[in-house]
């Protein structure tokens, strides 16, 4: 416990606000009837997750979260919603009597089980750190220990771009033949 009107107390208050942002965004993302609102909830949730990364002493990963998820993935999903959402008003959630309560129960059970597991395990703190985890150390590890994976992920991204172009172009004819 720390006093509220101090630097640590205010930082705890902001932390609670960030956690609430994350959970609220996740609930909007799964529960809204319209898909465009779900994407907005996803963006709110990712802003909260970036705040959590900041509290975990990784401002670079927080910045990447904002840049990639909020800036790129959410905008791409918004474009897909604009291109392929035939039923913009409602009808997005399953209406079956089983899937609603069943999926809710499954989600609650997963959450409860994972939380209980995390609470019961005796986590062992490390005896020491080999570096301080700064951005400089991340870059050095990325270009020495993990250079193979770093090169491979660029290949994966290139293939994803080409594959997305091929898939999205297929079936389209020249000069407005379709329509």
């Amino acid at each position: 416990m720390v006093p509220l009107f101090s630097a640590e107390g205010l930082s705890s208050l902001i932390f609670i606000f960030i956690v609430m942002t994350t959970v609220l965004g996740a609930v909007i993302a799964t529960h809204s009837e319209r898909l465009i609102r779900a994407v907005t909830g996803l963006a709110i949730c990712f802003i909260g997750v970036a705040g959590l990364y900041y509290y975990l002493h990784s401002p670079f990963v927080a910045l990447m979260e904002m840049l990639i998820y909020v800036g790129a993935v959410c905008v791409t999903i918004v474009f897909a919603v604009m291109l392929a959402d035939p039923n913009p008003t409602g009808g997005v959630l399953k209406k079956s009597i089983f899937t609603g309560p069943l999926s809710f129960g499954l989600g609650i059970m997963l959450f409860w089980g994972l939380s209980a597991l995390a609470g019961k395990t005796a986590w062992v703190a490390p005896a020491g750190r080999v570096n301080d985890g700064s951005l400089e150390e991340v870059g050095r590890a990325l270009l020495t220990n993990y250079s193979m994976a770093f090169e491979l992920i660029s290949l994966v991204l290139l293939l994803a771009i080409i594959g997305a172009l091929v898939l999205a172009r297929g079936g389209r004819t020249r000069a407005g033949g379709e329509s």
């Binding site: 416990m1 006093p3 509220l4 009107f5 107390g9 930082s11 705890s12 932390f15 609670i16 994350t22 996740a26 609930v27 799964t30 898909l35 949730c45 997750v49 959590l52 990364y53 975990l56 990784s58 990963v61 990447m64 990639i68 998820y69 790129a72 993935v73 791409t76 999903i77 897909a80 291109l83 392929a84 959402d85 035939p86 997005v92 399953k94 899937t99 999926s103 499954l106 989600g107 959450f111 995390a118 609470g119 490390p126 005896a127 750190r129 080999v130 570096n131 301080d132 150390e137 590890a141 990325l142 994976a149 992920i153 994966v156 991204l157 994803a160 997305a164 172009l165 898939l167 999205a168």
Partner: protein, 108 residues
């Protein structure tokens, strides 16, 4: 007045990650359109990333490993979103719907 310092304990982050995973799983089962399921999948990936970052901050002897793994998760998730969305657009062009109950041509 005093307030607990939540941001400095591992269990807080693990519970948040478990909550995101549970919400994402619920959405994955509950949603009826392909884009909704993709959004729920992104929530599950976010929960996994928070777990990696929390273990990296509190338990790892080398605190760069979790950050690099999270960066790789982001790259893979971006590639996956691009491919999945182009598949969804191709499905929409053929079927005029992205409802998972209607796209059932392979169903026996």
């Amino acid at each position: 007045m005093s307030i607990p310092a939540f941001g400095d304990s591992l269990i807080t982050y693990l519970i948040i990650a478990a909550l995101l995973f549970g919400i994402g799983f619920y959405g994955l089962v509950h949603r009826r359109t392909l884009i909704g399921m993709l959004i729920a999948g992104e929530l599950i990936l976010a929960g996994a990333s928070i777990n990696f970052m929390a273990f990296n901050r509190f338990l790892a002897p080398d605190p760069t490993v979790g950050q690099i793994f999270t960066l790789f998760i982001m790259g893979i998730a971006a590639a996956e979103a691009a491919i999945a969305l182009s598949i969804i657009i191709a499905v929409y062009r053929n079927y005029r719907t992205i409802d998972t109950d209607d796209v059932a041509e392979l169903k026996g």
